[in-house]
């Protein structure tokens, strides 16, 4: 067949495949209403009258990247403090109130944000509004609370990082990839910094960051819209607006040569190889492409790295490519554990081989369709619960500047082409702009 005809055939084939993939339309859109209160609090409501519950959540635009370099761990510590009580809620009562009303609660701090949520049977929605508005309006920040939580956070650091196998892998990566940006430290921060912090500093922190104009309130579940709007106005309206919150603006210099490091962990027996790259923010289209690259490399038993390193050559016990994206930058890591006597260098060589292939050849049609199906699957799952929807709405508004992502995110993935996949691999996955860390057992020290 003449060359031109063959190309035409391929193009038609690709088009048909794309059309086939769009066969099942996503019938479910997440509807929502949004508006601002006078004090700057952004409100997003998602009503669903088929569920028997309601989630109240608040996301504050403050995270570990807003910590001072000599006060790392503040954002996370503060999250703990906010459970200590408010002017109208005694110490120890916050959890009791939620549980004795049949509800559940949780919170987390990350590099960019701090998130608090409760969910209750729908008839107790107002309780959630009261609890979160109490915290925003007048939390109790006192010496006893600070002392208590200091100990608790120390325990948390011990059990999650210091005593845990591979507990130091994330700090090793962030310290290698970030020299100027606050992403170089983790939310848990430093015990020394927290010990040195004074009560005045905590009070000032509250005033600076925990203000309605730096937050978004999301209510998702079974409620009447007008009723909820009124209640929100009553509970959150009187909270005074704070000053504008300064946002950090720190740019990293490009990495121009491969960084090689060794780290020794006393809690492990098997060494781990870490190949890590600094990549752009999750708002950047390239970050979406990198998600797909992770899947090509290590998503499932038929993925490229798994098939080659775990199944066929049996040099790895496990291999995983992970895209950790944040507001300003992201981290792309390929972790691998060797089998028996295989060296970490063997693992790196195998990984490099596969990355090179991605940079030169386009992925096959079959792999492309596989990606489309996979991402459609995960997209559907994220909108499967009220708490999942609430978190997505808050995050898309506050961090991505685009609430509509809750319905449109999949479209972005679907529009990514094979060529973009190859281009992005070439742009970011380069040897001379990465950090390779041999994460070794303590006993390997000479």
């Amino acid at each position: 067949m003449a060359q031109i005809n063959k190309n035409m055939m391929n193009k038609l084939l690709s088009l048909t495949i794309i059309l086939l993939i769009h066969f099942d339309s996503i019938s479910q859109n997440v509807d929502f209403i949004e508006y601002d209160l006078d004090n700057g609090l952004h409100v997003i409501l998602h009503q669903d009258k088929t569920v028997p519950l309601a989630v109240t959540s608040v996301m504050y635009h403050v995270g570990s990247k807003d910590d001072s370099p000599d006060r790392t761990g503040f954002a996370h510590f503060f999250e703990h403090l906010l459970f200590e009580g408010t002017k109208n809620i005694d110490r120890g009562q916050f959890m009791k109130i939620v549980e004795s009303n049949g509800g559940s609660l949780n919170a987390y701090t990350s590099n960019d944000e701090t998130y608090y949520f409760e969910f209750f049977p729908s008839n107790k929605l107002e309780l959630g509004l009261w609890l979160e508005s109490e915290r925003m309006l007048h939390p109790v920040i006192d010496e006893i609370g600070v002392q208590t939580q200091n100990e608790v956070v120390k325990e948390e650091k011990r059990s999650n990082y210091d005593n845990r196998p591979y507990g130091q892998l994330l700090p090793q990566i962030t310290q290698s990839l970030f020299k100027k940006h606050p992403y170089r430290w983790l939310p848990i921060g430093s015990m020394e910094h927290l010990d040195a912090a004074t009560l005045d500093e905590f009070i000032a922190y509250n005033k600076k960051f925990y203000v309605p104009n730096n937050a978004v309130l999301v209510v998702a579940g079974n409620f009447e819209i007008d009723d909820v709007k009124k209640k929100i106005s009553d509970y959150f309206g009187p909270i005074p607006r704070g000053n504008d919150v300064p946002r950090i603006n720190i740019t990293e210099d490009p990495i121009t040569a491969e960084i090689k490091k060794k780290f020794y962990d006393p809690n492990i027996q098997l060494p781990m190889g870490l190949v890590s790259y600094r990549i752009p923010s999750f708002k950047d289209r390239d970050a979406y492409v990198l998600d797909m690259i992770s899947s090509i490399l290590s998503g499932g038993k038929s993925s490229r790295l798994y098939k080659k390193m775990v199944d066929d050559k049996k040099v790895s016990v496990q291999v995983q490519a992970v895209n950790l994206s944040f507001e300003d930058y992201g981290i792309y890591v390929i972790l691998s554990l060797p089998v028996g006597e295989n060296t970490l260098q063997t693992l790196y060589d195998n990984i490099d081989e596969e990355i090179e292939k991605l940079k030169v050849d386009l992925i096959s049609d079959r792999e492309y369709e596989k990606l489309q199906n996979e991402f459609e699957n995960s997209f559907i799952s994220t909108n499967a619960s009220m708490s999942g929807i609430a978190n997505s709405l808050a995050s898309y508004y506050l961090l991505h500047d685009n609430v509509n992502l809750i319905n449109q995110r999949l479209d972005i993935y679907k529009s990514i082409t094979k060529e973009e996949i190859r281009d992005v691999a070439n742009k970011y996955l380069n040897k001379d702009s990465r950090a390779v860390i041999d994460y070794l057992p303590e006993s390997a020290k000479q």
Partner: protein
């Protein structure tokens, strides 16, 4: 101007009206939402498979969960056969190769998991018929190859080795074994022996016997259409052959006659694992079920329950303490547990037993009962958000022989429990006078205080077999001098040893395929040079000239740290034992058992211990406690083996440094006594 601005501001704020809400107390709730338990549909195949379908088209996806609910079976000699079988299923079939099978699952973006006790598949709506087909194929036509069998067996064996020092896992399995007995399906666990006993034939037989539809449940939930999915399932699973009913019945498992402590010594434990509890005969069909669940919730069901508030919030013993009351069609159990730091093991046990006694004697308060009820009510209501809950309810009714309206009456049954009910039920099922207290921890730190408690103690090893009480006392007649003299005699006698002024050693090891050489020279009074080389390059060189020292690593030269210099100054080389004989700081530490040997352990420095074989007198190992970032200390050991005679003196020709599952083994190639040495050999570089 400013004045005007302020007035305007006041006017502005006053204009916005907010209702008078009373923040000082929690707002009242409206009426509880009605619960929709949906309409699951079901049918039964001829081969016994019960199918439950919940149609829910909220999202374009579906899942199927298979539960093969066989009567518990006892594996015995070949314990591990069911989990090995599980690892081999879901990886290709007689009709589809492993590569093709796995690739197709990934292609669809689907999930597929299979074992001899069930399975799970989920996918987008359009792929659901196919993934269901692949599930049926994997279930009914599995392919068991020798290659897969060997691989999975090795993985399982590695798994057992890796938990050798895992205090939590060991505690768990010993607990099950002791309470149910090792002739009971709930008490047995995999061992290296049992895994090695398993053959491929055993796998095939187990599959034929247990992967049967007789008592199986298939729940399908999601965007499916009942009639379509019914005919699909009938065609896919209809050929699944019925099996024979097993004639096996569970043996009896009994409670203790009195409260008793069962102790397992693990010398590496940095916390004690404590389990306090007893067996119960109660299933979901028992009307006491609701009161029991509420009572347990109050005792230890959450972080606001009595155990947590006592052991963590009040006493600070632990990160958390909880209890569970598990009902069962076969044998239920009540367990209160905590992981506590060594020093407070006895106190923690006392508090747990105290709480169990207190709730038995005085029952619960109205306030506690109301809060516990709310928790159950709330969780129940909110769980109906997910269609999977409805499916599970339908399965439970059939599986556990519950009344048809069990879940309609669920909340009512919980709400109607009184404090009297709770007290009665707690006393009936939580047997405060027959509690088994399992403690897995470091005997050396913990036993003496446990012995002061008013309970009998029985001792068990890591496999849950009865054993003797470990002996930590210093046997009489054993002193630092006697241990050191035994060593010196064993290696050739103190006279011969005193004649040696210097020793040079060349040893070799293989690290990840590459050869490593170590050369060291030790000379009187305390001089040392040690070099490690790889492929002709010096990786490390350490020198001590009697007063100061240096460490050169990969080109970087640093002086030896002060504490190490102190150690070296005070030591005698080439035989440290000679110096220790006269060193007041060397103390007798303990008698320990390792690898079948009895060891006499001396503490030679703050963080350094040396162990000698009690029988042979020879040095067995050296252990250094290395300081960790969080302040705890982790032991690093060096083992001495293969003692050989060199001119009348015994030296270890193999020195092993364990590194996890691997070991750095240094083999001595050459050992010279009294070589020519001079001061120039020990020059400290700057």
């Amino acid at each position: 101007m400013k004045y005007l601005k302020i007035i305007l501001l006041i006017l502005f704020t006053v204009n916005v009206t907010y209702s008078q809400i009373d923040r000082s107390k929690p707002p009242k709730a409206g009426p509880a939402p009605s619960i929709d338990l949906g309409n699951p549909k079901s049918f039964v195949l001829d081969n016994g498979l019960k199918v439950i379908v919940v149609e829910n088209n909220k999202l374009p996806r579906a899942y199927a969960n298979l539960d093969i609910d066989n009567y518990p079976d006892y594996e015995g000699d070949i314990k591990g056969v069911s989990s090995l079988l599980g690892a081999m299923m879901g990886n290709g079939t007689k009709n589809q190769s492993k590569d093709s099978y796995n690739e197709e699952v990934d292609y669809m973006g689907a999930t597929l998991v299979l074992s001899a006790s069930g399975g799970y598949v989920s996918s987008l709506k359009r792929y659901f018929p196919r993934i269901l087909e692949m599930m049926a194929d994997g279930l009914i036509n599995p392919k068991f190859t020798k290659e897969d069998f060997e691989r999975e067996k090795n993985v399982a064996l590695e798994g057992i080795k890796s938990i050798e020092k895992d205090v939590q896992t060991i505690a768990n399995r010993v607990h099950s074994k002791l309470r149910f007995g090792d002739n009971h399906p709930f008490g047995e666990f995999e061992t290296i022996e049992s895994l090695n006993n398993i053959s491929l034939k055993d796998i095939q037989n187990y599959y034929k016997k247990f992967a049967i539809p007789n008592n199986a449940y298939l729940t399908v939930v999601g965007d499916v259409q009942y009639d379509e999915i019914k005919s699909l399932i009938e065609s896919l699973f209809g050929d699944w052959k019925k099996g024979k009913k097993s004639s096996y019945t569970l043996p009896q498992a009994n409670n203790l006659d009195n409260v008793e402590i069962n102790f397992v010594d693990m010398s590496n434990a940095v916390q004690s694992e404590i389990y306090v509890g007893n067996l119960m005969d109660i299933s979901m069909t028992n009307p006491d079920y609701f009161a029991l669940k509420l009572g347990n919730q109050i005792l230890g069901g959450s972080s606001t329950a009595r155990l947590f508030m006592n052991l963590r919030e009040d006493k600070g013993f632990t990160y958390g303490s909880y209890s569970s009351a598990s009902t069962s069609r076969f044998k239920g159990s009540f367990t209160a547990s905590a992981s506590v730091r060594n020093e407070v093991t006895d106190s923690a046990i006392t508090e747990i037993i105290k709480e169990i006694n207190l709730i038995s004697k005085e029952g619960v308060t109205d306030e506690e009962l109301d809060a516990a009820k709310e928790k159950y009510v709330g969780s129940f209501i909110m769980s109906t958000e997910q269609p999977s809950t409805i499916a599970n309810f339908a399965t439970n009714i059939s599986k556990f022989n519950l009344p048809e309206n069990f879940y309609e009456k669920y909340l009512e049954n919980f709400q109607s429990v009184t404090t009297d009910d709770v007290k009665r039920v707690i006393n009936k099922y939580l047997l405060k006078d027959n509690l088994r207290v399992l403690v897995v921890g470091k005997g050396q730190d913990v036993l003496s205080s446990l012995e002061k408690m008013p309970y009998n103690i029985n001792y068990y090893d890591k496999e849950g077999n009865a054993t003797e009480k470990p002996d930590f006392s210093t046997p009489s007649g054993i002193t630092v001098e006697s241990v050191l003299n035994n060593y010196l005699n064993a290696i050739g006698g103190i006279d011969k040893v005193a004649e040696i002024n210097a020793i040079s050693t060349l040893a070799e090891a293989e690290v990840q395929g590459m050869k490593l050489q170590m050369i060291d020279i030790k000379a009187k009074p305390n001089k040392l040079v040690m070099m490690m080389m790889m492929m002709g390059n010096t990786m490390m060189k350490m020198v001590f000239d009697g007063e100061k020292g240096s460490l050169n690593q990969q080109g970087m030269n640093n002086p030896l740290p002060d504490d190490q210099v102190q150690k070296m100054i005070n030591s005698t080389l080439p035989f440290e034992e000679i110096g220790w004989l006269n060193d007041e700081n060397v103390k007798f530490s303990s008698v320990e058992k390792e690898d079948g040997k009895t060891l006499h352990v001396l503490q030679v420095f703050d963080n350094s211990f040396v162990s000698y074989d009690a029988e042979t007198g020879l040095k067995y190992k050296m252990t250094e406690l290395v300081e960790m970032p969080d302040g705890s200390r982790s032991p690093q050991s060096t083992y001495f083996e293969d003692y050989r005679d060199v001119n009348g003196i015994l030296f270890p020709y193999v020195v092993k440094i364990p590194m996890g599952p691997q070991s750095l083994d240094m083999n001595v190639i050459n050992l010279t006594l009294n070589p020519e040495v001079s001061d120039t050999d020990f020059i400290v570089e700057n």
